[in-house]
Amino acid sequence: MIRVWLAQHWFVFMATFKRLLATPITSLLSVIIMGVALSVPVSIYVLVENLQAIANERNSPQMSIFLRNDAKQADVDRIRQDLEQNPQIIELEFVTKDVALQQLLEKSELPDIAMNLPRNPLPDAFVITLNENALENLKQLQEDLKGKPEIKYVQFDSAWIERFSALLELGHSIILMITMISSIAIIAVMFNTIRLQIATKHDEIEISKLIGATDSFIRRPFLYFGALQGLAAGAIAWLIVLLLIHLINEQLIVFLRFYEMEFLLGSLSTENGLSLLFFSTWLGWLGARLSVSNHLWRIEPQ
């Protein structure tokens, strides 16, 4: 029974595939329209992803915690213990006042002045690296640390991070909105394509109903048609994004050469690409489904 069922579906699938190939220009045109519509949000998504990757790479949120000058070793150990237990902190570095002075001497253009200081003015410090999820609680963490008597000063450039994450959030909402608009366009294109097909298949549908075809049997080829076209549209959108990123990268190489820098944009990951194909297939299927249920009941045999 399952074998027969599979054979039936395979037959319809192949028949649908042949039907697509029988009208290559028409099929290609609607697939291209849908593919282009879909490529817009996907391209923006890839660009935003790249922006986020750059930001994460160069600017993991870091916080410097300066201890009081008179902090004892016991105080340092206690603070260290506290920090180590905090799950938001992924990296912890202790910079002693001596090391800090050494670094200052190396970097400073006025080593003599630094050398001639009567005593080391620098405090011991912790430099902590936070995970991305900690961003929301940063203010709270900063307040907590400031409250400890051993800590003199907590330095963190939060404004920049906040602005950037707001920007990313805006990017994501824009992607969501454009995805919705594109999806509506795809469903509309599919709806119309299937409507025209049903009109040309009027006789076949009527006769099939007369000799005992169920609604799902009649719907099946149209749903396959929608899903296949959706899949093809997704593939076109993927290709467009690949091409776009490739072209931008070519320009980027030339441009960044002046700055002796090298950087390439990442493209759509395979995982996201497959999600794109899945989504576009579903959209095509949905458009076809809506169209079929809207038009099929009008064909009643007489």
Binding site: Q8, E206, I207, S208, I211, F217
Partner: protein
Amino acid sequence: MITFKNVSKRYPNGYIALNNINLSINVGEMVFLTGHSGAGKSTLLKSIAAIERPTSGIITISGQNIAQLKSSAIPFLRRKIGIVFQDHKLLFDRSIFDNILLPLQISNFDTQTAASRVRAALDKVGLLKKEKAMPITLSGGERQRLCIARAIVHRPAILIADEPTGNLDIAYARDIMAMFTSFNQVGVTVIISTHDASLLENTQHRILSLAQGSLLA
């Protein structure tokens, strides 16, 4: 067994196609339905396959009330019935073989069984050599036979034919009638409508006469 009990069909424009029909047709019986065009022959036949639904009354097939059937159950009723349509209803975009394959695809037959059944049906109506031809190349009589092959390919218990000899010359018509008789001889219930009285002269089968939607005694 097919029974009609007080079946009437009235169209929204007020036209009465069937008027209080009472009849019963036994399993394995062959019945002719006669009357002028417009007498209600087609409506009566179509109501057996739930293509037309009566306004009132009860139609049963093997005890099941067809008049009240849910629309999702109608396909399964139609698979038990073979219909030879007055206007043939062939698909001109596919071969003769594929036309006859359609009822089997609908009933989920596997490919090999389906192919052998299609050829058996084509053989019965004498079109076996033309399986790859397109319906457009067939003559009127051949199209009628193609339609018959499609009606019997899934081996229905009931065969309905609406004016199957309509535009055929008398020799061809007798040929077609002989075909229906042979289906009846293997146990199929056959119901044929015709306005051609000359075909019914020597028949031993029951003749039902319709006039203005009513059955004549």
